[in-house]
């Protein structure tokens, strides 16, 4: 699920689905998203592949930085949330 500010970069969609024959990592999921939506991919990760500082990804209700980062596993059918930090001024 994408925040509204990013939805224009995914053709207006709020939910993207990725085919999965089994568990996949968040990195693989983001690779799949970036292959279809290149600019969206650059918004979420920098060119080294690192998740941008104020981009938070939740799997099973936990932010992936508190799990295994981009190596966190996503099960088929599981929901992944992209939420931006509310930092700013």
């Amino acid at each position: 699920m994408l925040p509204s500010v990013l939805q224009p970069l995914a053709g207006g969609q709020s939910v993207l689905t990725a085919p999965a024959g089994g568990p996949m990592t968040v990195r693989e999921l983001l690779d799949a998203v970036a292959a279809d939506y290149v600019v969206l991919g650059r918004r979420l990760r920098d060119e080294t592949g690192a998740l941008r500082r104020f981009v938070n990804i939740y799997v099973g209700g936990d932010e992936v930085r508190r799990l295994k980062g981009l190596e966190t596993e996503v099960q088929p059918g599981q929901e992944v949330l992209v939420i931006q930090s509310v930092a700013g001024g």
Partner: protein
């Protein structure tokens, strides 16, 4: 110089901490303002490219959430294009990621399509397709001094690029690191800071490490450049081999801005600030200072500026246009933007209460 008979409009682009505003005018006195474009993204750099019979606006866009890139518009901001894979992306072997684009510099008329960029982390980039895709300058990226360059308050960046019409001589200024010069079009680089103080370092006269805030080239005197340093205003007449102080006559030798006249020898502008304990116009009185003799003497101009102003003016928040007489523009961190149609003699307020002004650029544009 742009012939006035065929010039339809002046364009002033204002990059702020929360978006881009565009102002247009037929006479540089009455301005029409549109914006914001890219609301909630910082616009720290703007390039106005009027070569080749078109007007291309290029903007560096930075979002703390979504990263940095460069977008461009060929219709005065009606529509914008962001190259899908990013105009500036670090090659994988560098292990680096773009943090901010500090400078967008269209090259000489004789090299249409060539645009330079300076970025954070400290890096210089060159495009040959009008700013749509840039290539990293490896000579500077692989420079052995890199590990000793530092970060100013705003970050570690190459913020000034000056390319000689010959295309071979290129000066870059970085904070902190100082001035570097290439004589082979950017293949190799040497520090050129002799005479510029770095009072904040153990050795106040190092080969490099200075915090040069901005450099500008004298358009009509070969080998002459001006520099506004972190304390100190300097001139070189030998292509940056040596620098001498031209701060005498200024109320403060600190500031961020350095502008050179687009055609006339010896004319440059600074906007002094008191520092380091303060970072405000001296005594809260904002003024632009102009020299017409390459820094031997300075004249203070404040007509049209507010009686009291406590905001500073950042290094790229000032610009000149190419008209005759030259226009001078600047914006404050308080969101006011001022324009002068008479080389600084008198100013008028173009905009007020905008977010912090990070960058302004002005040009005479045809049509529109």
């Amino acid at each position: 110089m742009v012939p006035m008979a065929t010039a339809a409009k002046f364009l002033l682009a204002i990059g702020t901490k929360k978006g881009l505003w565009l102002a247009t005018s037929k006479d540089r006195r009455e301005w029409s303002l549109t914006g914001p474009h890219f609301l909630m993204s910082e616009i720290p750099s703007i390039g106005l490219d009027t070569r080749d019979g078109r007007t291309r606006i290029m903007v560096g866009i930075s979002s703390p959430h979504w990263g940095s890139t460069v977008a461009h518009s060929d219709d005065l901001g009606a529509t914008w294009t962001e190259p899908e894979r990013g105009a500036i992306t670090f090659p994988g072997d560098t292990g680096a990621a773009l943090e901010r684009v500090w400078q967008i510099y269209p090259d000489a008329d004789s090299r249409p399509g060539v645009v330079w960029a300076g970025a954070q982390p400290i890096s210089v980039w060159r495009s040959t397709d009008g700013g749509e895709h840039f290539e990293l300058n490896r000579g500077l990226w692989d420079h052995p001094h890199r590990s000793e360059w530092g970060a100013g308050y705003g970050g570690a960046a190459a913020h000034s690029i000056v390319v000689h019409p010959d295309g071979e001589t290129v000066h870059v200024a970085m904070s902190t690191g100082g001035v570097y010069r290439s004589l082979d079009g950017g293949t190799s680089w040497e520090p050129r800071n002799h005479g510029i103080s770095a009072y904040f370092m153990p050795d106040p006269n190092p080969e490099f490490g200075q915090c040069v805030h901005k450099i500008a080239a004298d358009a009509a005197t070969d080998g002459r450049l001006y520099a506004q340093n972190h304390h100190g205003v300097y001139r070189t007449d030998d292509n940056a081999d040596t620098w001498t102080s031209i701060a005498g006559g200024l109320p403060a030798d600190f500031g961020f801005v350095m502008l050179a006249h687009p055609r006339r020898a010896g004319t440059a502008w600074v906007i002094p600030l008191k520092a380091d304990g303060e970072r405000i116009p001296p005594d809260g009185k904002l003024a632009v200072h102009r020299t017409d003799d390459a820094g031997e003497t300075w004249t203070r101009f404040s007509a049209g500026l507010p009686e009291r102003e406590y905001n500073s003016v950042l290094r790229d928040a000032a610009a000149v246009d190419a008209a005759e007489p030259a226009g001078v523009y600047f914006g404050t961190r308080g969101g006011s933007v001022y324009a002068s149609a008479d080389e600084g003699g008198t100013f008028m307020e173009v905009a007020s209460h905008l977010p912090d002004v990070l960058c302004v650029r002005a040009a005479v544009v045809a049509g529109a």
